[in-house]
């Protein structure tokens, strides 16, 4: 079965890609399999300058998931362009750069620099683990629209806005991104959470709060994608707790056109490759004959509008 999907700026061999921050810049996973097998790669977040991030401990296990507060550690956009992207370009797979920042100007600067080297941008207005910027742009619809519009204006490639689930009304944010000119949406980022160690009486993570990911958040993501798909006419890259082909089908049915696999890469570094291999058979098992048929399939639509989004 043909499982290729076309999205703005992205010709995907298959709808599966590793999520930002869960795959570094690919090198570590290249020792396990050929990255050309991936639908795309979403790079670790880039900021204007080098960032160390938060103090350790930066992760804590939870029931069916984990909390992380890395804090956007990265070498800065210039070094990513010079030292990380050339390696990824040796593979036959589209690249999506995750663009982050603390100010509008920083977002513009990072986007303008990195867009020349990649096929699309994922605009990160939803990182819960940095003190300035990040999530404030993702929780205020006015700011979300403005930053989207400003990044869209400087970018030469399509922009996918990554939404935060830490809001009351996800549809309002999705509409704001659409109004700002987003070419697509990426959802969801992590949910803020906390764990406290009974022995020390203190939060386990040094940043105190962290972003919850893993299967625990999947129902939240599915619900949000289902809502946004009905309200906004943009393709969606869905993510949150994907570990199996059934999970992927669930995301596509909710309305995602492609999916990203996040923290499952930590449990099993081969997970993306395995899911890509298993997907055609899983689709057949549920009686699907194409990917387009699955996208948005949970919505009772009179036309096959999923076709037009992909």
């Amino acid at each position: 079965m043909d499982i290729s999907v076309s999205l703005p700026g992205l010709k995907l061999k298959n709808p599966i890609m590793p999520a930002s921050g869960c795959f570094g810049f690919g090198k570590e996973f290249a020792q396990f399999y050929d990255l050309s097998e991936l639908g795309a790669v979403i790079l670790k977040a880039a900021t204007g300058e080098k960032r160390y991030g938060n103090e350790a401990p930066r992760v804590a296990e939870t029931s069916s998931g984990m909390l992380n507060a890395i804090g956007l550690q990265n070498p800065g956009v210039e070094k990513i362009v010079k030292e990380e992207i050339p390696f990824l370009k040796t593979y036959d797979t589209p690249l999506i750069a995750n663009v982050s920042g603390s100010t509008m100007e920083e977002y513009e600067q990072v986007a303008a620099t990195i867009c020349k080297e990649v096929d699309a941008l994922e605009l990160n207005i939803s990182c819960p683990n940095v003190k300035e910027g990040g999530v404030q742009f993702g929780t205020d619809p006015r700011l979300a629209e403005e930053v989207t519009a400003r990044v869209r204006a400087v970018s030469t490639v399509p922009v996918y806005v990554k939404l935060s689930p830490n809001v009351t009304d996800i549809v309002a944010l999705a509409k704001a991104a659409a109004a700002g000119g987003a070419d697509g949406l990426s959802m969801i980022n992590t949910l803020t959470g906390m764990r406290i160690d009974p022995a020390t009486r203190r939060p386990i993570i040094s940043n105190q709060t962290g972003g919850l990911s893993g299967p625990a958040v999947k129902p939240v993501a599915i619900r949000m994608i289902h809502q946004v798909y009905q309200a906004v006419n943009l393709p969606i890259i869905g993510m949150g707790g994907i570990e199996t082909t059934d999970d992927i089908i669930e995301y596509l049915l909710a309305g995602a056109s492609a999916v990203a696999v996040g923290s499952a890469n930590f449990k099993n570094p081969l997970i993306c490759k395995e899911l890509i291999e298993q997907l055609p058979e899983a689709l057949e098992r549920y009686g699907f004959s194409s990917i387009e048929e699955v996208i948005g399939g949970a919505h009772h639509e009179t036309t096959a509008s999923g076709l037009f989004r992909a």
Binding site: G21, C22, F23, G24, K27, E28, F29, Q31, F32, K44, K50, Y52, G53, A56, P57, R58, V59, A60, E61, T62, S64, G65, M66, N68, I70, Q73, G214, S263, N265, F266, K267, N268, P269, L270
Partner: protein
């Protein structure tokens, strides 16, 4: 590095809350240096893997020996595994202890559950004709392990917090007296101990092995990051893949 279902060929308690597990598989053939670790998926119930250092390697039998301590629910669940069970293991990971050609006399300093990787190191050192002196610190006699094994490799000094085995006190009480009898030291244990040793033996070549909460264990997630001194341009090291072994002055303890 590979992901493999390794078979548990032996599993038993060796000290209070401390277990010895022998695993069989191809990963055993791929261990390069003492001080490397494996990243274990305990079961579906636990989302993250648990890093455990390799205490010994038997390449002829394709076996590695691990010694782990029960520190939480994950390691507690690991104790329930039986001989014959298969375990999802990722490894071998990390950079181990380098053995420079000019090492003649080595001091090994271990504390608590930091002791295991030093055993495979000590064996390698002795095999290369290097004189090994070991100082091990434990909380008490009932938590001590590998005592006879280290004794067979050279002079051994043991300290315990309560004096129930060896001398009452800290490893640093003993290492101070041993100054001058070694050209290189190798240490693994709690960070406070590593810091005390690195300060005390500041003028000696030394290697330390660190521990940190990990995510992926392969260098991609940046969970287990430590600071480097200010003159280091990169500014950080990842414990899982740049370490867990570092030159004593390479990282900020």
């Amino acid at each position: 590095m590979r992901r493999e279902w390794m078979e548990i060929v032996d599993h038993s308690a060796v000290a209070k809350d401390t277990y010895r597990m022998v695993l069989k598989g191809q990963i055993a053939e791929e261990v390069e240096d003492p001080g490397q670790f494996v990243h274990i998926q305990v079961s579906d119930r636990f989302f993250l893997r648990r890093p455990v250092s390799i205490a010994d390697v038997h390449p002829d039998k394709n076996e590695i020996t691990l010694l782990y301590k029960v520190l939480g629910d994950g390691t507690q669940a690991l104790t329930e595994k039986r001989t014959g069970d298969k375990l999802d293991v990722l490894g071998p990971g990390g950079q181990g202890f380098p053995i420079e050609k000019d090492v003649r006399e080595a001091l090994i300093v271990g504390g608590g559950i930091g002791v295991p990787p030093l055993y495979y190191l000590a064996k390698q050192l002795v095999e290369q004709g290097i004189k090994v002196t070991t100082v091990l610190g434990f909380r008490s006699k009932e938590e001590a392990f590998l005592i006879d094994e280290f004794k067979a490799l050279g002079a051994l000094y043991v300290t315990t917090d309560d004096g129930s085995l060896g001398e009452k006190g800290l490893v640093t009480d003993r290492t101070d007296e041993l100054r001058g009898s070694f050209d290189t030291y190798f240490s693994c244990g709690p960070t406070v101990m590593l810091k005390a040793i690195a300060n005390q033996l500041e003028d000696v070549r030394g290697y330390i092995s660190m521990e940190e909460r990990m995510g992926c264990g392969i260098g991609a997630c940046f969970a287990c990051v430590v600071h480097t001194p200010e003159d280091d341009e990169k500014g950080y090291r990842r414990v899982c893949c740049d370490g867990p072994v570092f030159k004593a002055k390479e990282v900020v303890l």
